[in-house]
Amino acid sequence: MKRHLIGVIAAGLTVTLGLAGCSKGSSSGGGGDSKTIRFVAAIYDDKTKSLWDSLIKTFEAQNKGYKVNLEMVDWTQMDAKVKTYVQTKQTPDILNYNAFADFARDGLLFPTSDVLSSQSSGDILPSFVDGDKYKGTQYGMPLLSSVRLFFYNKDVFKKAGIDAPPKTWDDVKADAQKIKDKDKGIFPLGLPLGAEESQAEFFMWAMNNGGGYVDPSGNWAIDSQANVDTVNYLKDLTKSGLTQPNPETTDRKDVFNEFAQGKVGMLNGAVFMPAGFINKVNAKLPYGIAPLPTKTGAAPSTLGVQDFLVAFKNDGGKKKDAVSKFLNFFYQTNNVANFQKEEGFLPVTKSAGAVISSAVPYDKPFVDALPSAKFYPTGNAAWGPLANTVKEKIGTAITAKDPKSVLSELQQTAQKNG
């Protein structure tokens, strides 16, 4: 038995060594050669990977010798991953992310003019370009954009005797109460303030109360009275049992999924909600789309989000040529338009806009809302660190005794980082 066991252990270790022998040697970054680039992309839905895969396949076929190593990362892990990559000097050559200014500040990025042809960069919609710049130089290239609108379940509203979507915050509360009185099994308002995407949810409510992250002159104003009032309003809704339980730990995907199941009355929804959530569960769900409600019923703003591609200057920039080739390939009208159409997001270039808006009627209200959209202060180097801190902490403001203390803490984080 003993001998037998030693044999087993020895065999096990031999197999392991054998595995080790045939496992690939390691290399850092995208490999040593200047024609191979590492591209870290975010997962938007089930299709994202195959879309990139086919684009890359085409690119590699058209450009012999060039190689793109694709790495898909989920948004919930993205922040930690990007932090780790940057801190451990493992930055990819191209990164798909939602912030860039702090990398630009530390000189890690190629300016857009170095890697994108003037034809492609001139095609970007003007409303996005401001958010792509750090201190007047463009570093970010928009990959896709999304606009948020208010979604409500028509059946739930009809049963509760409500005939129109809410326009003011008082309407929201009154309608929510009606829904609750009618059916205890429905969450009247979906309010995701968990760590996944709470910086967006908070901003949507705050901007429609005249608040937000910065004041009109661009200074941080997170602890403004308007924001405090916003948190107090949301706190009140939560306390009155008009939302799903524990907004502070609810992620966006949870309420989107519940909405798709018909269990949420209304919420701030995104352009990709039908493709990503509703159609999988119940394609016949009777939902309506409306502008976001505002505090007083004034003209509503909405949240516009653009996600970026940025190019890192790795190894002294020796991959510039390959990076540039791939980016220019991607920004060809058909490639970029197809990507955005398939993902159910909104176009970011003029030529793609022309292709898409005629093809997808569902997108119209979103495209129309774009001019009134407000964006994150992405050109500010403190935004990246701040957004991550907001995600973690804003939810605790609605459970805190004193919401203002949480907002003040966030204000300090913002000022500390520039």
Binding site: I9, L17, A20, S28, I43, N69, A80, K253
Partner: protein, 302 residues
């Protein structure tokens, strides 16, 4: 270190005749009732320990629709074995599994190869610096990679070893080394010198005496050291999370959570993969369980 050789035979052959056994009542109706109660409690405990993994298996066998149906059901309405196949196709699971195995296996091998001579020499010889060495081992036994993760990754950046298996192997080997040294040191100390001296008389050298006489006798200690290190490396999460970035160089622990994302929650895949990973290790444990108790006896007294 006051191990008894006797106790290492524990668990061989038929149960019973165990020193310190609780069941000392005379056989009779009272004794039978006691055994029945013990057995009942035992099976209940077994169920509690297995339950989460049963749930894991049941979830792994549910189709996507049933996962988010409420109210939830204990058993899948439709047993969906395709999840296991899908996982294999959907993600580089096999590669992650390989990484986990290589890291855990090679780290265990290195830790053992380095710990064995050190433990043996310190158990058999008195020399200058022996106390200092044992103190170093004892103190570093208290360090965990988690607490030092910032230092580890700064070091790996300095050495240009980020995103390599070598870094993971080194970290796992080094941090489990003290435990190996300690348990083997305890074991070797408990084996009478005379046995080796007899081998010397037959003209064997130090190394031969070690491999022929002492090692076979310290098998339980070896097994414990192997298991402890292997599981430690297999479980290691923080360092792997921090210093690997390429999907094909990530161990399972880092890769698996990727199934639950902002846009989809494939819990069934997550658990299917977990099961694929867990089952072999559980089987390994079950095979060597009898040695484990003996091995811990030596280490446990120290």
């Amino acid at each position: 270190m006051s191990t008894q050789i006797k106790s290492r035979q524990a668990g061989r052959g038929k149960p019973g005749g165990r020193p310190g056994s609780v069941n000392r009542g005379k056989p009779g109706s009272a004794g039978r009732a006691r055994v029945a109660i013990l057995a009942g409690v035992g099976y209940l405990v077994a169920f509690i320990f297995i339950a989460p993994y049963l749930e894991m298996a049941l979830t792994a066998l549910k189709p996507d629709r049933e996962l988010t149906a409420s109210p939830t059901t204990f058993l899948p309405k439709h047993w969906d074995f395709t999840n296991f196949v899908d996982v294999w196709k959907a993600a580089p699971i096999w590669q992650n599994m390989q990484v986990s195995l290589i890291v855990a296996g090679v780290a265990t091998l290195i830790a053992l190869l380095v710990a064995l001579p050190a433990a043996y020499y310190t158990a058999r010889n008195r020399f200058r610096g022996r106390g200092a060495f044992l103190l170093l081992v004892l103190v570093t036994q208290m360090f965990a990679p988690t607490a030092l993760v910032i230092g580890i990754y700064r070091e790996m950046v300095a050495l240009n070893l980020t995103d390599t298996l070598l870094a993971l192997i080194l970290v796992n080997a080094a941090f489990n080394l003290p435990f190996c040294v300690w348990i083997l040191h305890g074991y070797f100390s408990s084996i009478p010198k005379e046995l080796e001296e007899a081998a010397y008389l037959d003209g064997a050298g130090k190394v031969t005496a070690l491999t022929r006489v002492t090692l076979p006798l310290s098998l339980p200690g070896l097994v414990t050291a192997v298991i402890y290190t292997f599981i430690g490396a297999w479980n290691e999460y923080v360092v792997a999370l921090t210093i690997t970035s390429s999907p094909n160089r990530q161990p399972l622990t880092v890769a698996i959570p990727g199934f639950v994302t902002s846009y989809q929650a494939h819990w069934q895949y997550l658990f299917a993969t977990s099961l694929i990973a867990i089952v072999p290790v559980v089987i390994l444990f079950v095979c060597i369980e009898r040695y484990l108790v003996g091995g811990l006896t030596a280490g446990g007294v120290k």
